[in-house]
Symmetry: D2
Subunit: 376 residues, 4 copies
């Protein structure tokens, strides 16, 4: 199996997400890191790339775009892991150049940018996938298949949470690593919902196969001085008739990366938590709760394909992440996968803007759909 040549933009020294991408891309041997523009400081970026043994170290993404497109063997995929407000410009440029893109979330700051990106990817016939990494967990994919094949009957209510407490300390509010997230000039219309809630939102759609249609939101800025929300609740009506109750928080002391999903249908209920991802709780109507173990017999093909080690040996987040890179390799090879698409990215950006608008207007119901994807 030949490795696919791959480029990384952002993710320089000290970054959390850069190493995670490199690990995920390398883990199954699908991708080889051949080109990189790792840092806003060109020298620092080149030095770090050299240290990592990357052949083609660029000072910035424009250099990289030019360098790669002038080669006979450019990278076939670039991962965009730069600050959020730069996602659109970079992703769009590479898509236009015919290079597949794997973009960190949120895909763009604005809805119209996201729509342009979807349109460009469609036109060029390239991928613009979005890193909703938690969708790579085997049992999340199993939930999706259970819903799709009708185990739950019609889904009635989904409860999706992403709660942490890492921004709860008021004394830490001026820490630059925290502060920018609550500054509209840098973070846009939403903080914790765009940063964390977006994962819960995507997962609700990923598992149910239903998209946000209308929503009403409540934002709270609990820590004094914050212009954006650090706690948010959203009620959504989904396209298949289900209601989604979403809560995102950055002040929930005691929670770490508390991404949880509960799905309640006519014939059964599911409960899953990211912090204990190897067990899924399934309660058929009239029956007892069963513990479904990742790696056990009798799971769906999608769950089996996403598992690497035997039942009882926990798999964690880096392997979920790697499953998205495996999806990308499959897609590049012409095989359809479960990898989140630019359309998924667009829907999330639209829903977050809708939620911010609803919150500003005191919780009014608003349309959550992007124009591009509204059915006539």
């Amino acid at each position: 199996m030949a490795e696919i040549s791959w480029g990384l933009i952002g993710g320089g020294r000290g970054s959390q997400i850069g190493p995670a991408h490199r690990l995920g891309a390398r883990l199954d041997g699908h991708f080889a890191l051949k080109a990189a523009a790792l840092d806003a400081d060109p020298e620092a970026g080149r030095a770090y790339a050299a240290e990592l043994g990357v052949e083609r170290a660029y000072g910035n993404w424009r250099e990289m775009l030019e360098g790669e497109t002038s080669r006979p063997d450019p990278v076939r995929l670039v991962t965009v892991a730069t600050p959020n407000h730069t996602h659109f410009e970079i992703a769009h440029a590479f898509v236009e150049a015919g290079i597949h893109v794997f973009c960190e979330k949120p895909m763009t700051m604005e809805v119209d940018e996201a729509e342009r990106l979807v349109a460009a990817a469609r036109e060029r016939g390239v991928l613009c996938a979005v890193n909703y990494g938690y969708s790579g967990y085997p049992l999340v994919r199993h939930m999706r298949e259970m819903v799709a094949r009708g185990d739950l009957g019609a889904v009635r209510v989904v409860v999706a949470e992403f709660a942490h407490g890492h921004h709860a300390d008021a004394a830490d509010a001026d820490n630059p690593r925290v502060r920018w997230r609550y500054d509209p000039a840098q973070a846009g219309v939403s903080a914790v919902l765009a940063d964390c809630g977006i994962h819960a939102l995507h997962m609700a759609s990923f598992v149910t196969g239903q998209q946000p249609e209308r929503l009403a939101a409540d934002f709270v800025s609990a820590v004094p001085g914050r212009a954006l929300e650090d706690d948010a609740a959203v009620t959504l009506r989904l396209s298949g008739g289900a209601t989604c109750r979403l809560w995102a928080s950055a002040i929930a002391l005691g929670r770490q990366h508390g991404l949880t999903l509960q799905v309640f249908g006519e014939r059964g209920g599911l409960r899953w938590a990211q912090e204990q991802p190897n067990q899924l709780y399934w309660t058929p109507v009239g029956g007892r709760t069963e513990i479904v173990e990742r790696g056990a017999g009798g799971l769906s093909p999608a769950a089996d394909a996403a598992s690497r080690v035997t039942m009882g040996h926990p798999e964690g987040m880096p392997l979920a992440f790697a499953n998205l890179y495996a999806d990308l390799a499959a897609e590049i090879g012409g095989v359809a996968s479960l990898c989140p698409t630019a359309e998924d990215g667009l829907r999330s950006v639209a829903a977050i803007h809708a939620a911010a608008a609803s919150a500003r207007s005191g919780g009014a119901w608003v349309d959550a759909r992007p124009s591009l994807l509204r059915e006539v």
Copy 2:
């Protein structure tokens, strides 16, 4: 210690709540059941009372009121455990007669009834307590003291849930034990919020010391044919500035009596679940989560007073329930307690009516306060 003579109205053969009241009242030896009107069918009620060894068996509550008030030694407390729509009339009549009342929730169907009951109890100088039984758990009382003494600093967000799945089965919707709960003629303006969410709502106020001021609600009737909601979410602004995010559900398959409370403040977070009531999770800002065991050293006086057996020996719901009877005995003896009051009952009824109105109007923010208790 002399036992206080006690009467029970409702709770006949086959009732769930009747035995719980008898157990709770007897458990500490504070009350002796001397009078009863147990059933809508006078003969059945008298027969069951005789079987239970109750001295004064009445055919209905009016007989009981007349019988007791014409005695030199009437019961000093009556528990009202009849269908919800009868609570007001019965409670009001006994309060007017100067007899203390312990009323099942919801205290009344209508807000004005609740206000009249509060006024009557104040005027007569008698109790009209309400059975928010979960507030009797020792660790719930410990949470209350932690908040009161400032361990959490200002409370920012409370997440309160009461989720079960016992009404999820559409095939069971016509079961008479289920159906009446979703019939406005019998249940009033709300089903699962009035039946279950009311406990979570009370607990949020009990623990934080803050009352509902404004709220916005979303009701879902997931099972076809239901006129009232079987799943509800409410966002509340509380009197001290905190936001409460409340979820109640009767279709959450896999949950039993999933009453949980999370309280997030400036200096720490708390998490507690009714189904595992002997542990409380406390996370101080910047520190590790600690497991607080009921019965351990170093708890608050209120928690110690509400505990009966040593750490590691679980106490359950019947003992929480008994703590409210101990409170009632204390109050009757002139000692203040933590027992939920008629004012608490009124606030809950007002909030539920407000939530129903908000839900009808598409989630508009409405005032949640009863007129009687609005501060000028």
Copy 3:
């Protein structure tokens, strides 16, 4: 239902177990406390009994025996909750007088005493039940029925634990409340095994229906200066061919009353923990683990009879305790029950002596059966 007149010996002011007995006896209204000798100090005992409203307050158990047996209406049951070394003499005297006895564990200090007590109870036709209170939990009784009806097939291995850390602090070793437990003059041949492990041992037999035949033991005295063990492991061969692996510890910091039972059979495995007694985990061979909820439908009659409140409302230790008093009331009324018998008490005493002998001899296998109950 008339209350049965009841007497309590021991359990004076400050005792942990006295209030638990009074609570358990009163909870269902089966027993009325009519006579008491509560304290080694006659005056203190009488004063406390008066305070509790007990009619017949005695200075010591001999006075009580004489007083009651000279009445036309003596108590029908006495509970013996005195220091361990006095159990035999008191229990034997009341049994000889034809009064039913409920004795704290261990039933006696010596095996021959236990044999004499069994013989006396048989001869007089009275009860000499032993307080293995944890056997009153509904799900423990359900496990017993599952084994009895063959759900597990032949039981292969039982893992039984009772671990706590309350005697781990060397600085606390001289505390009189702790020290006597490790003094052979007061505690006999064993400390933590006789005090705690005895419950796990009884539960293994209660659930499997198999009795100890042979055993090998290892005792550790971890805290310096202790003559008796504060940590013990015992391997037992049971009468039906199963092996029981037993661990008891008083130095296991982080455990509270860590009584757990795992039962592994040909067709399935069970796991239960006293600190979360309302859930039982059942794994059929080839299937998924299921969570069995106390109070749910489909449980065995014994479990249903021992439950008081609905599924999802936790029941705790005091209610398990009360189930033994309900058993005693049934037995006194001529109805067989699951209440632990004098034979059970004898078997435990014999097994503990056998374990102490094995430990002294470096872990040799010894016969665990009392002579009286050896099958020819």
Copy 4:
């Protein structure tokens, strides 16, 4: 960072452990798979190696030894993942050739083989590390440091378990994948203890820094027809005075890879479970249990070095495994690490032989130390 050239012996198509080794070796980019002899069938092995893109595909380990040692750039490390009875011969040959070895457990079948391997590795100055992969978990390394720096004071008792139920089904006993494990001709003196218990045994020593000195064992063959044990309990005295209580089982239905460790010392207790490896429970004497999260601040350097992603993002077994490969890379680079050594392998083999001897003799205490490592 240049990749170290690496060879793999065993781990052919369908193997569980082969992919795990390839994943672990590749994950951090330390090793490049350059040579392989993957299968007992030379053709199958070569074909699979070619499919995996391995440059030098050999038909068997002897070919590989010859081929590599005749090159100027032989592999620097070989992993031995062949059937247990071949470990010694292969590992010894490569060690003698001066090539570092990473050997699956058990390192050898016989104690004298293990001693010869230790001697050879010492003489040649090469590694002969053993794959106790669970020792790579960050929180296991944190426990080790907590003990080493004295947080627990003297360790008193260790409770180590490795329980699963995957061999419980008697109907499955003739399955070839199961049967060989209980055949002394193929598995040697022990089945579940040598296969699973060995990990728990190593972990007890790894965390406490104490080695087995004496032990007594009980073996049970629960499934009919098995010559070797499927359930074992061992009591060990360790070199620092602690007692270890070890339980291993292959018939424990409901457990998956139930490797758990509890360590009880003078000043605190620890509890950790492999199936939830990102949390550690720490109870200081006199204090509350705290939940220690992998990746949180304030952990030991060893735990930090072994962590890859942030707190709340679970890491699982493959990353623990990769930590041993990182250790191997460090050792090859001349930097000391925590990687289990040939001495560790020898001690385990000796202890298992001692346990088998003890079990055969009815649980007698025997010396657990290999002659080579007995202190004079």
